[in-house]
Symmetry: C3
């Protein structure tokens, strides 16, 4: 199988073979980051730009490191609060950056669909680093990589995604990727935060966390945004923690090898207790490590293999 | 001709032969940015610092990319709102940076003359990335490069510069550079924004945009700062757009090969309509591309050729 | 003598032999920064992160340059005002960064002890770039390097440290380092800013600046924080300048080869007059130059020599 895509916008666009190629490529790049000299010349002389309209140090740093370990030149543009968008459209801004002969633009934007608009209009490769509530493909890919590394497979596993499904681009991208890879996904969360018709994406809905814990091989927790409470989606954070938070006692009903995942940053005591975040089932830091490998793989496939 | 200057402060200081050397050098570096591996080792082991007292993502990124493509190490210092200038003078700040053995300091400052003061006191090369209303030499050079690339020459061309001439360092630097290269420059704009005695710089003044359009080979638009309206220089933005904005109908009287230039970011619907910004006469994105080549040339001439 | 330490937290932890090894290593790296090609491949493929919870352009830039001249990849994370610490502990943040396989984390934090907590919990090397009022080891090392370079030795010299001793991590680290190297240290400053029991650190206390000036080989001035006046530590900045500021007339009683040092940025007219800051005794800019060499030495010893 050869890679042919020009952009990474959403896992929905990728075939199972493409997903498998990404995971396989990431595996070899993970090894690079564990070397004494964590650097390969694959993208020497390429220019990779992060263009973030929403602040995110964590994701930006992961992409920047991935690019640097491939020997690309990197540029960071924080478009929120910068002088960039003085009356300019997002597309104008991106076209200006592209005009400097950049190879990839990694974009994060609070509005769903911005990466797709850019991809339609740019010659540079566009990588979606999160758009609105729509997609966050590299997060889902690193989650899938982590699951596959631990279980040796994704097919046939039961994955429970718990939390604010409504606003979560992480959930959406994981649903697309995991179901395509043959996992069975159940979503769980407050009914106010459950999108109507989510079943159409091929997932089960279960409002009872204890049921979900009992049957899952993987429990994927979503970060709760505290501002949702003010928006009346949640009665209180304390109430959320009580009903949807993972704590030791609750986990006793789980499978023996269950994985606890979280995209970070965690709210300790809300989505999960501190002992579980640091406990034997947690792979939260492993997810961060794998994030660099996945982003190296994506950059390499998009920029390093084309003529 | 050999390059001998130590700093780039203002095009006024450069001879025609020096301007031609810069344009010729930029031409060869433009080719570098179009390669698969956009990188040459010319400035390996040199340190280039951007020191911006005024925010400007666009110009900073262009210089940073230029330095990286020459293999220099780059450091960005945003002096506005940073901890840098705690009670220190600008010169003290620059001397501190220089003390770290940096080769070039690229400075942008809201006060006219700051780059000259630094150049008098530093051993590092100083590059003016815009000072007050005084000079923005690399912008003018990239404009000149773009014109020469399109017409094969600058000599004998008629260039109209339209907008807020009074506050524009872009206009001043272009006037110096273009007239020295033998172009004929006409400035055009609201009379409140036209400096008294501008003719002494060797330009024509014409308040009638339609006249200027008709006779020009190049129409260079200046960005209108919306705050000028509050300062009573402008009756309204809408009024400005009506009298000095470029739109399709107006352009019909222009020469067939007329170039429309703008230093960016454009206010679509003000200085020009969207269809013209994206139209066949516009070279706005080409200017951005050429900016990297010009800045590579300047860095190379200042740092790469001295003993 | 071989280097064995994993972190740099405080000079208190280092033996005289270790301090001497750092100073000797820095000497050879100072030479690198004076070359045409200021770069050695010692840390190629290593990742060095600055994680600053307190803003400091100056120290961050010095570390970043040091890392780049050793060919390491660098990442800057400004944790103050970033999206990083959304409800996360500092340790969680650092563990997340470490999970990306970084080799060193250079941390500055307003709370004393944070670097030590990180060092206990991380596999990456932790370098303290200043914590609360506790320690700023690289600043003291560069001061010691500057003294040794000028006098050929530290042993037996008399060093006066003048200013806000109470809040100064620079003073504390210098006291540890200088006394271990055999210098005799006298602290001097307003009694409200003199820690009770400071003599236990092996220093003399003298409230009379003229006495201290007369006997010292080195006068090390501390930056006065203007906010201390609001906190009632100081009657007024003017009063401080009169009693503890260095001016020409006062310096006439000093030794002929006396050195005037300041960690920067200086408040001209407060800690010292402008003519003294720029005068023959001042080594303020030399300190900045030596800062890069010391930081290269630390990074090299921590990362470049281990298996």
């Amino acid at each position: 199988m050869e890679w042919t895509k020009h952009d990474l916008l959403d896992l929905h666009d990728l075939s199972r073979a493409e997903l498998e190629l990404i995971l396989k490529t990431a595996k070899s790049f993970k090894e690079v980051s564990s070397r004494e000299v964590k650097k390969v010349p694959a993208l020497r002389g390429k220019t990779v730009v992060t263009l973030f309209f929403e602040p995110s140090t964590r994701t930006r740093v992961s992409f920047e490191l991935a690019a640097k370990r491939l020997s690309a030149d990197t540029l960071n543009i924080a478009a929120s609060g910068s002088s960039l968008s003085k009356g300019e459209t997002v597309l104008d801004t991106a076209l200006n950056i592209e005009a400097m002969n950049v190879d990839a633009i990694i974009v994060r934007h609070f509005s769903s669909g911005v990466p797709s608009i850019l991809a339609e209009n740019l010659r540079s490769s566009v990588i979606n680093a999160g758009d609105g509530c729509r997609a966050h493909p590299t997060q889902a890919l690193l989650d899938m990589f982590t699951i596959q590394e631990r279980f040796g497979r994704i097919e046939g596993l039961k994955v429970g995604i718990v939390g604010d499904i409504l606003h979560s681009r992480v959930a959406r991208s994981n649903i697309h990727g995991l179901t395509r890879m043959g996992a069975s996904v159940t979503v769980c969360g407050p009914s106010t935060l459950m999108p109507i018709g989510i079943e159409k994406l091929g997932v089960n809905v279960n409002y009872n966390l204890d049921d979900v814990i009992q049957e899952s091989d993987v429990i994927m927790l979503l970060r709760i945004q505290k501002e949702r409470q003010q928006e009346k989606y949640l009665p209180s954070i304390r109430e959320y923690a009580k009903v949807f938070g993972i704590r030791q006692q609750r986990l006793q009903k789980a499978k023996k090898r269950v994985l606890i995942m979280h995209p970070g940053p965690t709210n300790r005591g809300v989505e999960l207790t501190a002992d579980i975040a640091d406990g034997e089932h947690s792979v939260i830091l492993e997810q961060v490590t794998n994030g660099v490998a996945i982003r190296m793989a994506i950059l390499y496939l998009l920029l390093g293999t084309k003529k």
